[in-house]
């Protein structure tokens, strides 16, 4: 429905800044095959951003936006932090309200969209940092899971407060010396993926953004499951290279190190049995659809 509205008025088309002309012609709204591989070939849903050079968050943003199953029917809810400087540049409606209340805002939003568009699947996705998700907003994060709210929560875990200059956060690893942890953090990294599982999330994944294929798959899973079953949670390691003293080029290495065996971000995925069955079925459908599409393309080429 809304994809028809992403169209420029003919009479004023030539005035529209080219970034919009490009977006309407070249972006992947409505494309069922959209995914991270479109990056660089299609118009991305994110313009220039104001993150630090080399920040893994920027690539995480691009993977996520490229992999949304239906960006034309998706609304994001963000929170205060580095991500809130990126969101104005994103071509999907998004809300910034306060710090920590993102899952509460998303609860109201999802329900309102359900009331207003009962026949359209409107995806709501929360995307916030670890301070917002785990510290100041933990109550709202968890309560939305308890209530079984049908949206996806994504946490960009950089293990500290980056936007305010590198203070201790609940997701920081124990012993790390940071602002407000002058003698090293005294308690363990909060085990939010496990908490999510116990709090009613039907699908939980914890990973880095070093492998785009995996990010894409996890995001699609989470959104599809949220539509059908209820809350889903993704925790992505997006290290703050600035605050952990790395160079712009070292983000990827940091992520790879941390997901190696014994690392803090070894890929973890949890789902209920029902969800496992559902995703298997979805994968099969997807395979058939792609096969059919390929065949049709071949036939068309022949003709």
């Amino acid at each position: 429905m809304s994809i028809e509205k992403i169209k420029i008025s003919e009479a004023l088309h030539d005035l529209m800044p080219p970034e919009y002309q490009d977006m309407v012609e070249d972006a992947t709204y409505g494309n069922q095959d959209r995914g991270w591989k479109d990056i660089g070939e299609s118009k991305e849903l994110i313009e220039q951003h104001s993150l630090c050079a080399g920040c893994p968050e920027s690539i995480a943003f691009r993977y996520i936006l490229a992999s949304l199953p239906a960006p034309e029917n998706t609304v994001f809810v963000g929170s205060t932090g580095c991500t809130s400087l990126v969101f104005p540049m994103v071509a999907v409606h998004n809300i910034h309200s306060l710090f920590g209340n993102q899952n509460a805002v998303a609860s109201g939003l999802k329900r309102a969209l359900k009331i207003r568009f009962p026949d359209v699947e409107k995806d709501v996705v929360v995307l916030a940092g670890d301070g917002a998700t785990v510290d100041i907003g933990l109550d709202y994060t968890m309560q939305s899971w308890f209530r079984g709210e049908k949206f996806t929560t994504i946490c960009f875990d950089n293990e500290l407060y980056a936007n305010t200059g590198g203070q201790e956060s609940g997701l920081m690893q124990k012993g790390f010396v940071a602002k407000m942890a002058p003698v090293g953090k005294l308690f363990d990294k909060v085990r939010l993926p496990e908490i999510a599982r116990e709090s009613g999330c039907h699908y939980v994944a914890c990973l880095t953004v070093s492998k785009p294929n995996r990010v894409e798959k996890v995001l699609k899973n989470a959104i599809l499951v949220a539509r059908e079953f209820g809350p889903t949670y993704i925790q992505l390691y997006t290290p703050c290279i600035l605050e952990i003293g790395k160079q712009s080029m070292e983000g990827l290495d940091e992520m790879k190190d941390s997901e190696a065996i014994g690392g803090r971000f070894v890929f973890k995925e949890y789902m209920t049995d029902e969800v496992k069955e559902f995703l298997k079925q979805k994968d099969a459908e997807e395979k058939d659809r792609k096969k059919a599409a390929k065949l049709a393309a071949k036939e068309a080429a022949k003709a």
């Binding site: 420029i8 008025s9 009479a11 005035l15 800044p17 080219p18 002309q21 951003h49 104001s50 540049m89």
Partner: protein, 214 residues
């Protein structure tokens, strides 16, 4: 009775909102000129004369008509285009409201967070807001009154704007056509456009291709 007048600035370091100075919005069928409530027709004629008397008359179309998100939007866009061609006037879009990064190009766009860059750069002396969401229009109108001498006009689909020097409200296709007709009539009566010669800026996607691709 407020004696405040909504006239071109530069007014103040931080100009007040006209509504806080006692200026009220017109009722349906009315407009306001500098805060004075008048019949809609009078406001329309005043707007036409202001436009024709301007050196750099400019229309700022906003997202509500730049996007073909409903049929009426597309029709209004055509009406605005026609008006710009008949005047003639520059068309500079306010495509969105985000704080744009890293910079805007004041020749070809206007941003509500810093509209004066565009007004100053193009030496715009009379402008019309149309199709801009009311909240962002008011932000921009107030900032323009604060820092420029531009005469601002607002064609609003809702209740109008007291922060503009002139407003008409409940604007739909016919209202825009009425304004265009009024411009035509005045021209026929011998009122000459004072607009300096210019070429309408046009974007095409070709313009943006890096040199090595052309």
């Amino acid at each position: 009775m407020s004696d405040y007048k909504v006239v071109p600035g530069p007014e103040a370091f931080l100009p007040p909102a006209a509504a806080m100075m006692g200026i009220e919005l017109p009722d349906p069928g009315e407009g306001h000129i500098e805060g004075r409530i008048v019949p809609e027709d009078e406001a329309i004629e005043h707007a036409a004369r202001k436009f024709l008397g301007a050196k750099v008359p400019t229309i700022f179309p906003g997202p509500q008509i730049l996007w073909h998100w409903n049929e009426s939007a597309a029709i209004k866009a055509a009406c605005v285009r026609e008006m710009a061609e008949i005047l003639p006037a520059r068309l500079i879009p306010m495509a969105d409201y985000r704080p744009k990064y890293p910079k805007i190009n004041p020749e070809v766009e206007i941003n509500p967070n810093h509209p004066n860059l565009t007004i100053w750069h193009n030496k715009i002396d009379v402008c019309l807001f149309v199709g801009v969401h009311c909240h962002q229009a008011n932000l921009a109108l107030k900032i323009i009154r604060g820092g420029t001498s531009c005469y601002t006009m607002a064609a609003c689909g809702m209740s109008g704007h007291e922060d503009a020097c002139l407003t008409i409200r409940d604007v739909h296709e016919d209202t825009l056509r009425k304004l265009t007709a009024c411009i035509k009539k005045l021209k026929a009566e011998g009122v000459k456009s004072q607009a300096e010669p210019f070429e309408q800026f046009r974007f095409s996607r070709e313009d943006r291709k890096p040199a090595y691709l052309t």
